[in-house]
Structure formats: structure tokens, C-alpha cells
């Protein structure tokens, strides 16, 4: 395989051909940092070792020796490997924690392969690990081979799990009160949806599925805490895959706890239209004829009580 075809991770500039021999300028510092970052971001081998070859085909040991000193116990390669493993285990763990559902769906081995491929293409572009999986749903679509034959379901689960990260700590803007809403005629009123609210129309009840996985994992954790006093906990029980069915889920928080709320298709159309900036009158019209004004009134009462609307 021609090594030069190794893709450069998204957002990263290519490294220098060789590590700088002296460090006299800011450019030298940047060159050294690019060199090391590329080495760390190259995927580990199947045995979790540092890749044996650098991107241009040279032995990694030779490249590592260009910039890292060996000592009496460890070679340059081995010292670099400590950092490479630290990097990969840290970011894999970060994604792992946020995706219990996707993990259960794919199984540990397949999940791990997906996450490694994802992070090799999309390393972190944010100061916080919180955003690590922001591009995972997109990657699942771009590279279906990691999740085949369940790519569409995996995509739905990943979107649902990312929505939870948003619901956990995205901004809450001042809530619009009924009085404020009443002041503007519906034909002109535009409501904003809180930044922490996500609207998901998906082809599987992924909320039920992820909830079942979380409940199972929590029970197992409890059982393993009690393991000294009782029999070993049973092997991980498999959660049946969800059956295909269109559902509309609003992922939100109230007041500081995560919730998923199902809405029906008409309600979802109204919320989506509002989120897209339509006026209240047009959003309600988008719901279609089958909805009574009384029904719409009840929905809005609930949604406003939950604090979903803000000024836009």
C-alpha cells in the first residue's frame, strides 16, 4: 500500500518532512508540534502499538529518533508510544462514555473500530472533550462500512446520543411568557426554540432502546458493586434491537435533568417550522388540517410549561 495515501486528519496541516534540528523560531516550534501531533494521531495497530511506519513509509522508529531522545530504558519509539496510547485511549474513552446505545447496537469490537476510524478522520477541533462526537453522525453516513448492515439505525442512535450532550449543557435563553406571546399577532410572531432542545424524526424508537441499555448497564453496575456479597452478576443481557417505526422525539432538559419527549407528527411539524423561523400562524398551518385548535392549544401549553420557547 502506498503510504503517501494516508489521509491527513481533517483540519490538520501536513507535517514537515523532517523534525527541526534546532528550535530558534516560532516556526520551528510549530514544525515540531505538527510532527509530534501527526505521530500521535496516526491510528494505533491492532495490538494498540504505535504505527510501525510514518506517513511517508519510513519506519516510525527512525522518525521518532529524529526528535525524541531515548533513555537508558526506553527507545525514542517507545517514549513516543506512551503518548500515542495516552492520546488514543483518552479520546476513545471520551466517545465511549457518551454512546452506550451505539456501543450496545454495534458490540464493543465494531464500536471500537468505528470510533478509531472516526477520530482518525475527525480529530478534536475543540478545547473540550465534550464536543468529541459532534461529527460522529456525519461520519457514520460518510463511511457506512463501519456500521453496515445497520448504518441507518446507528446514525439515528448517534444523533439521539449527541442530542443528549446538547441537552445537558447548551444555553438556556430567557423563556417567552404567555403574555409576551399574546402581545404579537400569530401572523407576525416568530418563536425561537431553546438551544438545548433537539428535534429528531427517526425511523426507530431509539429513545426506548437507549433507555433500555442504560437501565441494564446501571443494574449491572449495582450488581458488580455487590459482587463481594453475592453471586457474580450475569453476563451482559442483550437488548433486543428496536423495530422499525417512525417516531418524533424532542430531547430536552427540565430543569437540569435530561428528558426525551415523544410528539406526534403534526406537533413535530409545528416545532420544526418554528425552529426554521416560520411565524406561529404558518407553523400551525404546517401541521395540516387534521389538527384541532384545541389540540394545538394543549400542545403549546405543555411546551411552554417546559420552557422550550425563547425570543429569536
Amino acid at each position: 500500500m502506498p503510504r503517501s495515501t494516508l489521509p491527513t486528519p481533517s483540519g490538520l496541516k501536513p507535517p514537515p518532512k523532517h523534525a527541526p534540528r534546532r528550535l530558534r523560531t516560532d516556526a520551528d516550534l510549530r514544525a515540531l508540534q505538527r510532527m509530534m501531533t501527526h505521530a500521535l494521531l496516526q491510528p494505533l495497530t491492532a495490538d494498540d502499538e504505535l504505527a510501525p511506519r510514518w506517513r511517508d513509509g519510513r519506519p516510525m522508529a527512525e522518525v521518532a529518533a529524529e526528535f525524541i531522545k531515548p533513555n537508558d530504558r526506553l527507545s525514542s519509539f517507545e517514549r513516543l508510544q506512551i503518548y500515542a496510547r495516552g492520546y488514543w485511549f483518552r479520546v476513545i474513552d471520551g466517545v465511549y462514555e457518551d454512546h452506550p446505545g451505539l456501543r450496545a447496537l454495534l458490540g464493543d469490537k465494531k464500536f471500537s473500530a468505528l470510533v478509531r476510524a472516526y477520530l482518525a478522520k475527525y480529530p478534536s477541533r475543540s478545547f473540550t472533550m465534550r464536543n468529541l462526537s459532534s461529527r460522529l453522525p456525519q461520519f457514520i453516513r460518510e463511511a457506512p462500512r463501519w456500521t453496515a448492515p445497520r448504518t441507518a439505525l446507528a446514525h439515528a442512535v448517534a444523533r439521539f446520543e449527541w442530542a443528549q450532550t446538547i441537552a445537558f449543557d447548551a444555553a438556556a435563553l430567557p423563556v417567552l411568557t404567555a403574555a409576551e406571546i399574546a402581545r404579537t399577532p400569530p401572523a407576525r410572531l416568530r418563536l425561537g426554540l431553546q438551544p438545548y432542545v433537539s428535534l429528531l424524526a427517526v425511523d426507530w424508537p431509539v429513545d426506548d432502546y437507549v433507555m433500555a441499555v442504560k437501565t441494564r448497564d446501571a443494574l449491572r453496575r449495582e450488581a458488580s458493586h455487590a459482587v463481594e456479597h453475592g453471586p457474580r452478576p450475569a453476563a451482559r443481557k442483550k437488548i433486543p434491537l428496536p423495530r422499525r417505526r417512525r417516531v418524533f422525539i424532542v430531547v430536552h432538559r427540565y430543569p437540569h435533568r435530561l428528558y426525551y419527549k415523544r410528539v406526534d407528527s403534526a406537533g413535530f411539524k409545528i416545532l420544526t417550522a418554528l425552529a426554521a423561523g416560520r411565524t406561529l400562524a404558518r407553523a400551525v398551518a404546517a401541521a395540516g388540517r387534521g389538527v384541532t385548535p384545541r389540540q394545538v392549544g394543549e400542545w403549546f401549553a405543555t411546551w411552554m410549561e417546559l420552557g422550550w420557547f425563547c425570543r429569536r
Partner: protein
């Protein structure tokens, strides 16, 4: 001499890291704790539970901010949006000083989320010091930079780590968060004497100290923060406070976190060393007075 301009002339005692598994205990039991160190990044969010918890903590306790992503040593410029978020948090917590690491971890906007070692050169020291100044001027709060544990050294380095640390803090005119566990770990990994390191540190710039546990592997030590503090690290700590004076001290325990009480008890062990340093100082003073009073 614990209070200095690098910790805003405060005299904080022993603090603990604020960690998620302890939230419920702290909010319900309100245990005694002189101060909490928070990881800034965990609260640089726009809303939700993290800030809700933080506000409750702030009602009861003093909080000091410790960051893990400023990367003073990265070739990248500080990110404006990041600084803005951090400043909002500084205003919220009223942290008397702010610490982050003497390291790098990102390049061209890609983040490793690690604390990577610096090449110890004058050019890198100048660049790093300039960045510390920029950040301090923007945040308007004293800054202490922390020495990290490391597992590799660069060929381009021209000085020892402690010479590099001194060069940076003198140029930036900033403080030091001296992590004695990190000194110990790096000393073992790079075969230097940790006491040489201590002697090389400008003691009057130390605004805070970290102690922590590490893990021993066959060929190197790893900074894991998942253990009680090991004896040689406590010894180094004792020497550090003899040298710097009694200084705000924090125990880091970030993995396999036991109960709040257990972490608290471990941190309180520092008291014995602080008392030792105080007695030694008092004895020295008495001896001096006696010499002065002795007839010629």
C-alpha cells in the same frame, strides 16, 4: 510567605478537586473544606447542570480555577472565543488566581487533550511567556503555571526543565503551581534528582502546590492521579514548603475516585508536613534570637 502576588495575597490552606462523584455529598452534607479547585473546562459551558452545581458550590465555598487546555506552549495564538468563555467563568467564580500547565497540546486548532512536554529552548520560553502575558492581561487575574509529568524529551532542548520553568516565569512575571508529584515522576523518567529541580525553582513565585498519586510501571512512572500520594512525594512536598513557605496545597485525585472522606483524609496528611515546616522555621528563629542575645 504563603500570600504573594501570584495567589492574590490569599492564604488558602488545603483544598480538594471538585469532582462529579462528590457533588451530591458536598451539596447535601456541606463538609468542611478550605477551598475547591475546579477544572475550568468542565464549566466553560453555556448552561445546564454544571453551572447550576457550580453556583451552589460558590454559595458555600471558595473556588480556584485550574485549566487543562490553555496550552501556553502551543505555537497557536490564544483563541479569542475560548478566552472570552474563560473570562466569563473567572467573573462567576471570582477565582483569586488561575492556573494552567506549562505545556502544549494543540496545533493548527487540532486538540490532543493531553499535556505534552515542551522543548526546553530559549525561543520556546520566549513564545510561551508572551502567551502567558497575553492571557493574563485579558483575564485580569494572576496566573500560575504548572510543571507537568513527562515521558519524553526532545533533542532540541538546550536546558533543564527547571531552567526552562524559571526562564518562562521570569519573562512572563507570573507564578508557579508547583506539582511535586510531577517533579518526582519526571525525575524518575528522565533520571534527574528531584531535589535539584526544587533548588532550581524560584521559590518566591510559587503560589500553589499540587500533590497526587502516580503509577509505577517497569520502565517508567505514569501520572495517574488514581492513588494516595506516595511517600517520596510527601517528602518532596515537605522540602518544597520548607523552601517556599506554607503554600495553598491541593490533592489531585481524578480516577478511581473514592469517597469524599477518603480524599479529604488523604489531603489532610499535608497538615503534618506543614506543621513540621512551621516548627523548623520557629526553631530557626529562636536559635537566631538566642545567638543575637548571647554575650560577646
Amino acid at each position: 510567605m504563603p500570600a504573594n502576588r501570584f495567589n492574590a495575597f490569599t492564604d488558602y490552606g488545603i483544598g480538594l478537586g471538585l469532582r462529579v462523584p462528590h457533588y451530591a455529598h458536598i451539596l447535601e452534607q456541606k463538609p468542611t473544606c478550605d477551598w475547591f479547585e475546579i477544572i475550568s473546562e468542565n464549566f466553560m459551558v453555556d448552561g445546564g447542570r454544571p453551572l447550576h452545581v457550580l453556583d451552589q458550590i460558590l454559595e458555600q465555598y471558595r473556588v480556584v480555577q485550574h485549566g487543562v487546555s490553555m496550552y501556553f506552549g502551543s505555537a497557536d495564538q490564544p483563541d479569542r472565543a475560548h478566552l472570552k468563555k474563560l473570562k466569563a467563568l473567572v467573573r462567576r467564580t471570582k477565582t483569586p488566581w488561575l492556573s494552567d500547565h506549562l505545556c502544549w497540546g494543540s496545533v493548527d486548532g487540532t486538540f490532543t487533550h493531553d499535556l505534552l512536554p515542551m522543548p526546553y529552548t530559549l525561543a520556546a520560553a520566549k513564545r510561551t511567556a508572551e502567551k502567558i502575558r497575553q492571557v493574563r492581561d485579558y483575564l485580569e487575574v494572576p496566573i500560575c503555571v504548572e510543571n507537568v509529568s513527562s515521558y519524553a524529551e526532545f533533542h532540541v532542548s538546550e536546558m533543564t526543565e527547571w531552567e526552562f520553568l524559571s526562564e518562562v516565569v521570569e519573562r512572563a512575571d507570573c507564578g508557579i503551581l508547583l506539582d511535586v508529584n510531577n517533579i518526582y515522576v519526571s525525575a524518575q523518567n528522565h533520571s534527574f534528582d528531584p531535589y535539584d529541580y526544587l533548588r532550581g525553582v524560584p521559590a518566591d513565585r510559587v503560589g500553589q502546590i499540587h500533590v497526587a498519586g502516580h503509577t509505577k510501571f517497569e520502565q517508567y512512572l505514569l501520572d495517574t492521579h488514581d492513588h494516595p500520594v506516595l511517600d517520596p512525594v510527601w517528602k518532596l512536598y515537605a522540602q518544597a514548603i520548607r523552601q517556599c513557605g506554607v503554600t495553598a496545597t491541593l490533592l489531585e485525585w481524578d480516577d478511581k475516585i473514592p469517597s469524599f472522606e477518603e480524599v479529604h483524609d488523604e489531603a489532610m496528611k499535608a497538615n503534618a508536613f506543614i506543621a513540621g515546616a512551621r516548627t523548623a522555621k520557629a526553631a530557626k528563629r529562636t536559635a537566631k534570637t538566642h545567638t543575637a542575645l548571647a554575650p560577646p
